[in-house]
């Protein structure tokens, strides 16, 4: 919690803004390594539904998850604008498939509101807040929670103490 508070305490937040099921989301730029185009993903059997598989990122094997499936949103077609955002969460490098990456934005801290209990079917636990910028609504995601909550029950018999 303290981390979140500290982040909110700074004057501006820099966000990578992306589209997912016709909504606009944002994550802190500090946790983003790079953004790559879609490539062939090797399916890994017996992993949770939202784990798409693994890719080869310059010699490293990186797991890729589908954020739509993660949030149980309507599954969108993979298009030319689909991207994989490579993020770092607690020292783990993970790819997230999104519909499109639109821009990098600076958001003043005071324009960030705490999240409502439920938004577009996404549990507030996954959210850091809502940023309102020029009439635009950007949903800020809490990466730690997205990648690790529920995992214990879904990835059966797997110990993931990292969360």
């Amino acid at each position: 919690m303290s981390k979140t508070e500290r982040e909110l305490g700074s004057m501006e937040n820099q966000l990578v803004v992306f589209q997912l099921a016709e909504q606009t989301y944002g994550i802190d730029i500090a946790s983003v390594f790079e953004i790559i185009r879609m490539e062939t993903i090797t399916r890994v059997p017996r992993t949770p539904d939202f784990v798409e598989g693994v890719i080869n990122l310059r010699g490293k094997i990186i797991p890729v998850i589908d954020l739509c499936k993660r949030f149980n949103l309507a599954i969108s077609e993979r298009t030319n604008s689909s991207r994989i955002i490579i993020v770092d969460v607690d020292g783990n490098t993970i790819g997230m498939i999104v519909d499109a990456v639109s821009e990098v934005l600076r958001v003043p801290v005071d324009s960030i509101e705490p999240p409502p209990p439920m938004i577009h079917g996404i549990n507030a636990a996954y959210l850091r807040g809502i940023a309102i910028l020029d009439e635009k609504l950007i949903i800020l995601l809490n990466l730690d929670k997205i990648l690790y909550e529920h995992e214990k029950s879904e990835l059966q018999g797997i110990s993931l103490e990292t969360a």
Partner: protein, 691 residues
Amino acid sequence: MFSDDEIAVFLDELEEKIQCINDNILILEKEGGSREALQEIFRAAHTIKGSSGVMGYEKMSSLTHEMENLLDLMRKGLLPVSGAVVDTLFMALDTLHKLRDEITGKDVSIDIGDVVASLKKCQEETPGRPADREPAPEQELPAPPGGEGTALIGDVEEEVIRDAELKGYQAYWIDIKLDPGCMMKSVRAFLIFETLQQVGEVIKSEPPAEEIQDGRFEEGFKVILLTAEDPDRVKNLLMTVSEVAGVDVKQIVLGNGFEERPAKEEQAGPVPEKKAAQSARVEHPEIKTSQTVRVDVQRLDTLMNLVGELVIDRTRLNRFAEIFEGRFGADSGEMVDTLNEISGHLGQVTGDLQEQIMKARMLPVAQVFNRFPRMVRDLAQKMGKEINFIVEGHETELDRNVIEIIGDPLIHLIRNAVDHGIEKPEAREKLKKPRVGTLKLKASYMENHIIITVQDDGRGIDPGLLRQKAVEKGLLEREAAERMPDREALNLIFMPGFSTAAEVSDLSGRGVGMDVVRSQIEQINGMVDVVSTVGTGTTFTIKLPLTLAIIRALMVEIGREQFAFPLTNVVETISVPAGEVKKVRHSEVILVRGRILPLVRLAEIFGNEEKSEKERLFVVVLGVGEKKIGVIVDKLLGELEIVIKSLGEYLGKVPCISGATILGDGQVALIIDVRSLVKEIGVEETVYAAC
């Protein structure tokens, strides 16, 4: 006060010296008073004494001091090598080990009182023990004059030297060269000074003493020493300091420049100025110390990853060349050829690079083997057995990860061989066998594997007794047991739950935790096999992959995906007509040479979409220990050398998948974990019974 790096270097050296002492005490015990062995031990102890003293580890330094005193007596022939002395030396060595652990924080407050006392006691038993160090040998006549200038000898020094000469001292101009790879110049310099102070007085040095002791000098330094000692002795003393590459002692004769008094041997090692890489120690010029640098394994891993990226780029370049050719065709002419040539060469270089980096990760098995002679000696002594322990293939190299794991199983096997395999001397004589049992540990290469054998000429294992035991324990039906060939029956000792030490050693004399041995070896993709003849002995053969990072794998296609089966687990591949598949209790099986083989469709286990039935099925027969299963695949793609990569922490352990590898075209293929797959299928014993 000392940096972590310096302490690490000290510990490395300590390890090396302890091993050296260990080896040489064993030689001493075997061959009696081997002068060379004594000399080696003395040197090693001296080095430890010096460096531990400088680093402030007083207990270690006083222990080695006592060892040194004792060894000195032995060296001079005043004290014969006896069992008691060797035992005391071993005891001191063990204490050194503990003291090392104390430094690394693994152990606390070691008491060295007892050991020091016994070391002293040994010394007191010396018949003609001299009161102190023997007096320096008489001065020899000066040799012909030498060359270089005496510029450094100023008026003050000259006066001091003249004074000293009156008192019977000689002045020597000593040129000391350190090993160019020396990591702790200041420590070495300190040691050298200390050594010199013991025999005389340093009146001048270049560069000045303060700078030397701070390590601010290039490869070496020069000092003027006043001493009554013989120059040879001074030289030899200095040579005992580690990483001293060369010492040149010249007598200074005032007024005449100085006269050269070369010590008997010429500068023994290669002249250090020539090449920085020459790090051969002068202590034993005939033995070439390997010229090495220490590298963090992490770095090698990173290098390996970088090579992987290169490989992928090369493939992309290939593809680009094709596209290029297709688009510009005739117009491009030589350009396409050039492009192909570049990409071909790049591929070759990348391949070589990969191989070299793999080799860099290898260590000689000596790392593990070295501790066994001592262990066998102690065990044999305790059990009242006489054993000639032979070790071969020290230099065989293995991946460091394999080295780390292989130690335990080997200890088990060797212990068993000494404990239960080899009989007592009296029993052996009755059996008309040589009184001394032979235990042989050997490592060698075989194709892409390392073979380690542990062979004894003891009583052997009786397969009949093993069968009986297995039936008694309910592990096997009587009928199945009886039908089992001897060779397979021997492998029963590896079955979990088969043996506990007490029960089995009464019976066959084997089987202490053999299932653990096997699982440890399989953990590193190895295999273990046993051959035994009652009355003549037992041989365990361990087959290990050269490395854990790269394996040979059978590539297959299932659906549109590629999978890799580690070749160590692949028994064979067969093609069978679909009609031969039979159903036994909901599971599919086929008959292979009269034996039932359970079948698995990977597609089902992994939840792939079902494939249409074909007329002929490709079956990969996999084996883990005794268990065999067949996996139906769509296509066999052939063998490939693959680099194993982890799926990462996020996915954790995925059932039946042990990792992934990156193929030539950059795609990822999963590696099947055959052990967990076989476990999952759960080949029941009933299948065996049905055979």
